[in-house]
Amino acid sequence: MENISKNKTINVVLAGNPNCGKTTLFNQLTGSKQYVGNWPGVTVEKKSGKVRNSLGRDIEVVDLPGIYSLSPYTPEEIVTRNCLLNDDPDVIIDIVDATNLERNLYLTTQLAELARPIVIALNMCDLLEKNGDKIDVASLEKQLSVPIIPISASKNTGVDKLVEKVVELYDKGKYVPVKNIYSYEVDRILREIENALEDIKQHSYHRKRWTAVKLFEGDTVTWNHYNFTDEQKEHINLHIDEIHTSKNVDREMIIADERYKYICSITEKVVTRKRPAGFLSVSDKIDKVVTNRFFALPFFLLVMLMVFAITFGAPGNLLRDGATYLITDVLGGGLSSLLTYFNASAWAQSLVIDGIIAGVGSVISFLPQIMLLFILLSLLEDSGYMSRAAFIMDKLLRYIGLSGRAFVPMLMGFGCTVPAVLATRTLENQKDKRLTILITPFMSCSAKMPVYLLFISYFFADYGPLVIFGIYVLGMVVAVLSALLFKSTILKGKNAPFVMELPPYRMPSPKSLWLHVWDRLKDFLVRAGTVLLGASILIWFLQSFDFSMQMVSPDESMLASIGKFIAPVFAICGFGDWRASVSLVTGIAAKESVASTLAVLYPGASIADAFSPLAAFSFLVFVLLYTPCIAALSAIHKEMGSLKWTAVTVVYQIFVAWFASALVFQFGTLINNLGMM
C-alpha cells in the first residue's frame, strides 16, 4: 500500500487572502513565472504546476485566487470554493500573512473545516520583525493544532520544509480535526445539525462540520445543493431556530463573530507588539502624502505626468534613437551590402530591405520605449500604488457608473489591453465589468506607440510630446463619454460596493519587475516574429506584384486594388489614400502593424507628402480609438461571455473612431478655412 501511495500524484492547493504572497510562493514551488502584483486580485483564475522537489515525489500544486472568506459571492470566492469542494485536494497549503494575522486566520478557520490535511505557510515573518512585532510560532501551532512552517516566499526560505511537511501530511493520510472554535452553545447546535444530516443519509458526510456551519449560516448555495425535502428542512431548522430565542443577532454574524473571537483569544497570547503607540511604519509615512486629502490628486497627476515624460521625453527618445540606429543603419545597412555582395536578385533585396527591415524593424526600434513604459507601470503595480489610485478615484468614477476598482484595469490598459481586460474579472458585478471592458480599449495601449511616434517624427517634430499627450487625453475623454452613454442606456444598474483592502507598500522586487517586463517582451518578440513578419512580407508581396504576378509599381499592385475598395470610407476623415486603409486593416492583427505597414508602403520619408498635418492627426485619432487587436478582442470575448456584447464593443469602437476622426478633420479644415478668410 505504502508504495502505491508514494507513486501517486499529490494534489496540493494554495489558498489564502489576496496579496499574501501566494503567487510568489507558487513561482518558488514550481519554478514558473506567473505574474505577481501588489493589488488584490492579481490571480483571477486558477493555475497549476508541478512542484520541484528533492523527495522524488510527484506533486501538483494549484494557485487559487486570493479570498477573504469562503462565502459564495465574488467570482474569486466561487472559483476557490468550488475547487476546494469539488476537487478534494490531498493537502491544503494555507498561506498566512504574518503582518495581518487576525484577518488571515479568519480564512484558516474556514479552510480547517473542509476536513482536508492543512498546513499553514506563515509568510512575511521578516517584515513583521522589521516592524518590531513577534509571533510565537510554536505556541500558535499548538493553539490552532495546525502545523505551521514559517517561510519567506520572496526570499525563498522555508519553502523546502513546507514541501516536506506537505508530503508528510499526505503520507500520514489522515485529517486531524482542528480544535473546536465555537462557543458551547453554538457547537451544540452544530452537532445537532450534524446528527440531523446523519439521519437524512442523503450524501457522503466527510465534511460534516463544514456543511453544518453553512446550513447554520443560511448559505443558500449549500441549502440548494442538497435538495432537502420539506420534512428534512424542518428537521434541520428545528435546531437552528433554537438560537434565535436566545440571541438577537443573525446567524451569519454569529459564526463570523465566534471565529474572530476565537482568533483574538489566540493572537492575544502569541503576538507581542513592540511598536509604541502612534508608531508609523514606512508605509504609513508614504500614505501621509500619497493619500492625503489635498495632496492625493496632485500627486496622482504628477505620477502620471512623470510616467509620460520619462516614456516620451528625453530618456525614451534616447533609447529609440539608439535602437533605430542599430536596426536601420547597422543591421539594414549591413544586410544590404551583404545582399549586394552576393548578387542577390532585385526582388530578394527588396523583400529584405523594403519588406522585413522596413516593416518589422520599424516597430522593433520602438521596443525599448515600450519596455520603459511597462517598467514604470509595473513599478506602480508592484509597489501597491494601484489600490491607492482606486481609492482616490472612486468618487469620480462613480459619476460614470463605475467603482474605484475599475481604475486598476483602466490604468493597466495603457500597457496592454489583454491583461487589462482579464483584470476586470475582479470587478464584483456584471454591469461594472462590461462597462469597464467597453471603455478600457480607449486607454491607448503601448502597441499604438510606434504609430504615434512614426507620425510625430514626420509631422509634429517640434511639439511631439504635446500631440501624444493630446491623443492620450482624448482617449480618456472618449472613455468617460462612452461610459456616460452606456450607463444611461444599456448598462443601467446600481453601483457596486467599494470595500477594499489597502495593502502596505512594498519595495518592488527586481525579479517580479523582470517577470512583468519579460512577459511583455516575449509577447512582443513572438508577435514581431509571426504576425508582424508575416504581415510585412504579405504587404510587401501584395504591393510589389499585380494579379498576374508581375512586379509592378505599388499603385498598380494587388494591394492598391484592395485598399482602394475601402479607402473612400475614410475620405471624409482626410486620409482617403489606399495605403492608409491597408495599414488600418493590418492593425487588427496587431497594432504595431499599422506602423510596420506604413513603413513598407511609404518608403523613405514619402509619408510626409501623403498626409497633411491635420490628416495625420485625424489618422492618429482613428488609430487611438478603433477596435483593438485580435488578441485583445479574444480577451474581450472571453470576459464579456457573450457574442452579442463582443459585437457591440467592436461596432461601437469602429464607429466612434470613424466619427471622431471625421469630426477632427472636418472641424480642423473649417477652422483652417476661416483662418484664411
Binding site: 477573504y68 472568506s69 462565502s71 459571492y73 465574488t74 495581518n100 494575522l101 487576525e102 484577518r103 479568519y106 443577532v249 451569519e252 454574524m253 463570523a256 463573530d257 474572530y260 473571537k261 500614505d287 493619500t291 492625503n292 486629502r293 489635498f294 492625493a296 490628486l297 481609492f391 482616490i392 472612486d394 468618487k395 469620480l396 474605484g404 464584483e428 460596493p497 467599494f498 470595500v499 477594499m500 483592502e501 489597502l502 502596505p504
Partner: protein
C-alpha cells in the same frame, strides 16, 4: 445611533451592529467588522469619500454610504 461615518479623523469606536444586507453585509463581516471590533477612522479621499479605517490591524477603505450602516457603541 452613532455610525462609523460620525467618527472624526483619528477617532476610534467599537462596532455594535451592522445594517445593510446580502453580499455587501457579508463582505463587511468577512473583512473583520463584527460586533466588538475596534475601528479607527484614518482618512478620507480627496472628495470626502471613500474613507480608510483601521480594523484588526490593517487598512480598509469603504464608502461613506457603507460606513453609515456600521453602527457603533455609544
Amino acid at each position: 445611533m452613532k455610525t462609523l461615518d460620525d467618527l472624526k479623523l483619528g477617532q476610534t469606536g467599537v462596532v455594535a451592529r451592522l445594517g445593510s444586507s446580502g453580499a455587501l453585509r457579508r463582505r463587511i463581516i468577512d473583512m473583520g467588522i463584527t460586533p466588538g471590533a475596534t475601528v479607527k477612522k484614518l482618512k478620507t479621499a480627496p472628495f470626502g469619500d471613500p474613507i480608510v479605517i483601521i480594523v484588526r490591524g490593517y487598512e480598509l477603505s469603504l464608502r461613506v454610504s457603507e460606513a453609515k450602516e456600521i453602527f457603533l457603541e455609544e
